[in-house]
Symmetry: C2
Subunit: 307 residues, 2 copies
Amino acid sequence: MNLLTVGSVAFDEIETPFGRSGRIVGGAGLYIALSAAYHTQPVQLVSVVGEDFPADVLEELQRRGIDIAGVQRKAGRKTFYWKGRYHEDLNTRDSLVTELNVLGDFEPYLPDHFRRPDYLMLGNLSPQVQLSVIEQIPQRPRMVALDTMNFWIDNTPNELREVISKIDLLIINDEEARMLGRTPSLVKAAQAIHEMGPEYVIIKKGEHGALLFGDGEVFVAPGLPLEEVFDPTGAGDSFAGGLIGYIARTDDTSFDNLKRAVIVGSVMASFCIEKFGPQRLLELAPEDILRRQEVFKKLSHFDIIYH
Amino acid sequence: MNLLTVGSVAFDEIETPFGRSGRIVGGAGLYIALSAAYHTQPVQLVSVVGEDFPADVLEELQRRGIDIAGVQRKAGRKTFYWKGRYHEDLNTRDSLVTELNVLGDFEPYLPDHFRRPDYLMLGNLSPQVQLSVIEQIPQRPRMVALDTMNFWIDNTPNELREVISKIDLLIINDEEARMLGRTPSLVKAAQAIHEMGPEYVIIKKGEHGALLFGDGEVFVAPGLPLEEVFDPTGAGDSFAGGLIGYIARTDDTSFDNLKRAVIVGSVMASFCIEKFGPQRLLELAPEDILRRQEVFKKLSHFDIIYH
């Protein structure tokens, strides 16, 4: 199945209690594509970089089955740059520097062969950019998934509501779900979001795992209990990439298959946080992924025996 | 199997965003015993009440297979009284009034037939009182479980460490685990607690479920996603009661059986929070409990299918 994704490709500089990454590549689009490409190929990527972005990274994406025909390279301009520092517990962070650069006036353009996706993953970007991608696709994909963040909920609520009305699956974290649904209850927030359009809602809870709502049912995916999180950057995007990659590969949008997809997403996120940036995502073997799925199963399964 | 538990029996007055309970009965010992008695009988209860405590409540406990021979009734004195108000999100609360009354100088006394328990659940009380119960039991039970709280971690750390060194299972919430283990990582906190003595550690995470550590393994029990929590009072004690009641009934302290016991505990807690105080715990049918175990299974189980 064709999977199309749009999202930033960036330079990141990350500080955690464990060290500094220096200038590395990142961005939602890069994490989503890298993660998804372990599950389905090709992954069509729509994004924008500056002249300063290393050609060998783009070549590496191509070698991994990622079609970069939708990645614009702007002559004489600079790539989106973000510098952030995580707090001691790694659950919160401060943005130290955000230079939008080429992302500031990004107009996504889909090459012809990108305009018939079976599955579409809209990474976190302005709702206007996400809408523009949807509008370039004449026939509705089998599933459109979208990630967003508090900035867009606060600053462009109407545009966000418009794009949310056109999607099938919203992927959001717990704090953002409460903001968007205007209630402290995640169950009620999911109901409020269903009413905005999406049939499925996934609420990410960091170390506490994720909730999948849809079809009148709920599924609780466990978080992997870890001694240490090395760097959470990209975890949410790796989750989204693994999830949509698995759905595209299996071509099955049932609730039962989405449960499996949430586990696959959780597995990819659990790898991502083991090293700085996308480093761990670049060195996985398929067996690693299968083995960790078994870990998730062992972690959460039990038999009911009553005597 | 004989199950012995010690814990407060109290008057509570509870305010939540949904209303006021008025003066009702409560206390860790009451919740533990009520919850455990659905799974194993008799449950031997050690506690203390004042002259003001209603005789018909004690009779109701007896009808439910709870042996109250260890519940002292102090003439001319008043029962422990607690009044608290929950905040909007029901995750935090303020204690408005705490009158220790008979609990202030409580010296637990075990009748002869209470001194050979197979299983012992030490509800949240001062470590000195918990130790005094252990010392009245000549032969070590098959499993000793203990609940405690931040107050004892802060104020009687040495006594708490002494009693923790004598137990097999510590049941604690996430904030308390971080305090006791002196680390923000729950996995590291559990390791630190293992080193203090207990073979098993259960960390309760409220709406996010619970973690079971032991035997080099981890199990993640889901939280039941609820639209509304009506009153969280007693949820932790209902959890402990269901857990130890199931272990006593099955007489199996293996990691695999503790996984099931954590689910049974979670089931009992999920009922407790549906109404004020112990009300919901008083009206359960065995089928309700079995049915909700199936809900927990459906909530967290998935198949791994790879294509």
